[in-house]
Amino acid sequence: MEIFNNLIFGFSVALSFQNVLYCFIGCLFGTLIGVLPGIGPMATIAMLMPITFALPPVAALIMLAGIYYGAQYGGSTTSILVNLPGETASVVTCIDGYQMARQGRAGPALAISAIGSFFAGTICTLLIALFGPPLAEMALKFNSPEYFVLMMMALIIAALLAQGEMVKSVAMVVLGLLLGCIGTDVDSGWQRFSFNILELTDGIGFVIIAIGVFAVSEIVSNLGDPEERSVFTSNVGTLFPTRDDMKRSIGPIIRGTVVGAFFGTLPGTGPAISSFSSYMVEKKMATDPSRFGSGAIEGVAGPESANNAAAQCAFIPTLTLGIPGSGTMALILGALMIHGIAPGPTVMTQKPDLFWGLIASMWIGNVMLVVLNLPLIGMWVALLKVPYRYLFPGIMVFSCIGIYSLNNSPFELYLAALFGLLGFVWRKLECSPVPLMLGFILGPLMEENLRRAMLISRGDPLVFVTRPISLAFVIATILIVIIMQSPALKKKRGEITG
């Protein structure tokens, strides 16, 4: 079986001392910062990203992936213990997880979330190994029109699913695309929007925007509206779920994994929609739906498995097609490009060590998360009590050093400060920065593919609907838009996120 040979090769890469170490550091830092209040996964990845630039590509990606699921996981811990979701994906975990914590059952809730995530992680590792290669093979047949439409699809769906209104999200995508134009045009060498500033001729680094918009503006907003937090530290209780808990959770974990794997793989969707759907499924399937909302363990098991499954399967489109499904995946894609790797189906054949090593490391990372989280839960609880006024100068220190190290010049810091300001204004105007980030990273790729598509078709825009694969993507996009706009779904989404 080729898949096993590939996985064994992957493990031989991932299990080298250096890579295990970076995977561990990534998971540890990710969880650490993910647990800390007031810092979401996007900000975590953004501020730690510059550190990984100094590493070899495989180690860097392994560490980044570790940070990513560590942060995600840390978010679940805070949703259960403090009712504060680090990001939208953990919103639903709050509903029943926090109730369980209030009933003194935080321990089982955390344990089930760990077990569910681990199960989902294992299945998804296999799924990526299984479906990655055929998908990449298929993607090799794609030409520029297909890529352009696929990127369009990812951006539109991402805008649909972003928080806030769709119109503004789409406008933010366009703004991101426009920001992506800054710098030297690859085709003609023309300087675009560079204001005669030397540093802008290479364009703006995505880390600068990410740190400004996600880390700095997040701090400003936290300082303006301090959150109320009450930690249930007195009794995390026994970690072990009862036999009844286990029996109730098996179904939700399996269903959650399936839901998460499905949505994670679709470009543009991601963990948030998965955990939400999984919660809806469990509530529908339950014999007594009224238990949901007052500490039903199914409401933790399902969504937690789903969001971990989605978080991992999101790597499928990112690694095989070069299309990021979410804001965090866009950052990972950006990191790939910084390391000089052209994202797309060729990654697997040209950099097999990176592809298979990364996949194997995901499973290793999942083991580490369980090991890190359950026995050390006391430490994470203690961290939750650190006052914010000690935290944010630390975030600033990390962010500033990271930005300065990009180019060893202060100009990048001025830019990041500007994006911090802008990011806060966008927050106030309820314009989600995530679609902007996706647009920014995909912008140059989209322009290139659009140009090539037009060359192929001799300037005929109908090329996007006359080629079968491209047409299929167009139809899929339209269908998804219609489904997402259906009043029934909108209403349900409103019910959940309240």
Binding site: L223, C400, V425, L429, E430
Partner: protein
């Protein structure tokens, strides 16, 4: 009903899209546009700017109709001081070196918070300084002088 433009959320969001779009189109109008077949460097930006302007107008008009207010505080203090701390870090990094820049960054950024206790911040700054030097300069080998000797 009296329209309150000052805090009209969508009006300002639309205005922002409009201004950025209009600014971009003004700058991009001199870039060679090319044709649909052979797109010049101006093609993509101009098309994007036009789309952005249209979105801007739409969002602005909708804001006038819905008249929703901006929520929460503006936290002007943090909004000014925090970005400023990054700028100052950049400047001190060039003239003073790594350690002074970090200390200044800690103090200035801490000043954007509600509580400012000198001793606390000093301790925090020292801890952050030692750990950053250990991690970034000794650990990752970033080539920054701890102190610049220019005075």
């Amino acid at each position: 009903m009296k329209l309150e433009l000052r805090s009209n959320k969508d009006f300002w969001a639309g205005m922002m899209f409009f201004i950025i779009g209009a600014g971009a189109i003004l700058m991009a109008r001199h870039y060679p546009y090319g044709s649909t077949l052979r797109m010049g460097p101006g093609y993509f930006p101009v098309v994007l700017s036009i789309i952005l302007i249209m979105f801007g107008i739409y969002v602005m008009l909708r804001g006038l109709r819905k008249n929703e207010k901006i929520q929460g505080n503006w936290s002007i203090r943090a909004l000014i001081v925090l970005p400023l701390s990054m700028v100052i870090f950049g400047i001190v990094m060039e003239v003073g070196g790594f350690v002074p820049a970090l200390i200044v960054l800690c103090f200035v950024s801490a000043a954007s918070g509600r509580e400012f206790k000198f001793i606390e911040i000093l301790l925090l700054a020292l801890i952050l300084c030692v750990s950053s030097v250990a991690m970034f300069v000794w650990g990752l080998g970033l080539p920054y002088p701890l102190f610049q000797k220019i005075w």
